[in-house]
């Protein structure tokens, strides 16, 4: 086999690997978001961050009092962790297409993200953690 042919085979291999990487990325992104175990936070139409239960558990350990460990982090804390500090409205969407729009004054430490045992996240109030405002959060949309 001539050297040129070998180089062409190598180049094709590189392109196949890059194509496979793109394919894996799109498949896992769809699967990850579809499972409701990963929440997408969008700001100005762009993805600001992806958060999972594991990340929020770490946040709870770092920033929330030991007494609050059974619940989950406040929505506000999760948003700060995603780099969102200024907002006027927040829309929280669920896997079942249910949604809630919250104004800045509605958002307090009372509003928490309840971390379920199956890896999904639910929005509820601290004093009424059995009644979910949004079950299986899919996306949090920030409006400025």
């Amino acid at each position: 086999m001539k050297d040129k042919k070998r180089v062409i085979i190598g180049i094709i291999l590189v392109f196949i690997i890059i194509g496979s990487a793109c394919l894996i990325e799109s498949i896992t992104t769809k699967q990850g978001l579809g499972s409701a175990k990963i929440v997408k936070i969008t700001e100005k139409g762009k993805v600001a961050a992806y958060i999972s239960t594991d990340i929020l558990k770490q946040l709870v350990k770092q920033d929330v009092d030991e007494d609050d460990l059974s619940f989950g982090p406040p929505l506000q804390l999760a948003m700060h962790a995603a780099g969102v500090s200024e907002f006027t409205k927040v829309e929280v969407k669920g896997e079942d297409e249910s949604h809630i729009i919250l104004n800045k004054k509605d958002i307090s430490d009372d509003l928490i993200i309840y971390l379920a045992g199956n890896g999904t996240m639910n929005l509820c109030r601290k004093e009424n953690s059995s009644n979910f405002l949004i079950k299986e959060i899919k996306e949090i949309i920030i409006s400025n």
Binding site: D3, K4, R6, V7, G10, I11, L13, V14, I17, I18, A21, C22, I24, E25, T28, T29, Q31, G32, L33, K37, I38, Y50, S52, D54
Partner: protein, 194 residues
């Protein structure tokens, strides 16, 4: 006639030296060790303000390919990989802990199997670019496998994977091209290395 005699003398000398590791003599292993050390130290101290994933492949794969191009024997890539991997662990580089060894070792291992396919023509720009790109992509693959082993969620591992793969291939290829140019210029001056 004199050239033939010289070749015979050289062959007899090399057989007397014996093989130290793989098909390498002691001097080759020491040279490979030098390249491995350069890779680890360069990665530790050099900070290029490129802000793109895989930009370290520019010098990492470049040095690896220069080493392989100048020590044209099976095992030189593995030796460079082992040495740089051990140094990376000792110097505490990366976030993977002890597993960072594989990030350095696998590209070296791959290069050892890849370069014979291209008949050791690393002074050719095309061959070196392809080898550099593939070695750089192998580094990315090791990163992902390590992430899976360390239980990082798959979505976080594969986020922006397409872009990262393109950047890795690009920088690896550029590193390969630079290596080819350096090999071409160094080889005539290092005729006594063989």
């Amino acid at each position: 006639m004199a050239l033939k005699d010289l070749k015979q003398l050289d062959e007899s000398n090399s057989s007397e030296q014996g093989q130290f590791m793989f098909k390498l003599g002691l001097s080759d292993v020491l040279r490979a060790t030098m390249f491995g050390t350069i890779i680890a130290v360069t990665n530790d101290i050099l900070r290029l303000p490129l802000h793109m994933p895989g930009h370290s492949s520019l010098y990492w794969m470049g040095i690896l390919l220069i080493g392989k191009g100048l020590i044209k024997k099976f095992g030189s890539g593995i030796t460079i990989g082992i040495v740089s991997g051990i140094l990376a662990v000792v110097l505490g580089m990366g976030k993977e802990g002890v597993f960072v060894f594989f990030k350095y070792f696998i590209p070296g291992l791959l290069i050892d199997f890849l370069v014979p396919f291209f008949r050791y023509k690393l002074e050719s720009i095309g061959v070196a670019a392809v080898c550099g790109a593939l070695a750089s992509l192998s580094k990315l693959a090791v990163n992902i496998i390590l992430g899976i082993i360390l239980n990082v969620p798959m979505l976080f591992l594969t986020l922006g994977l397409g872009y990262t793969a393109i950047a890795h291939a690009l920088y690896g290829a550029i590193g390969g091209v630079l290596a080819a140019i350096i090999i071409k210029r160094l080889k005539p001056r290092l005729s006594n290395w063989e």
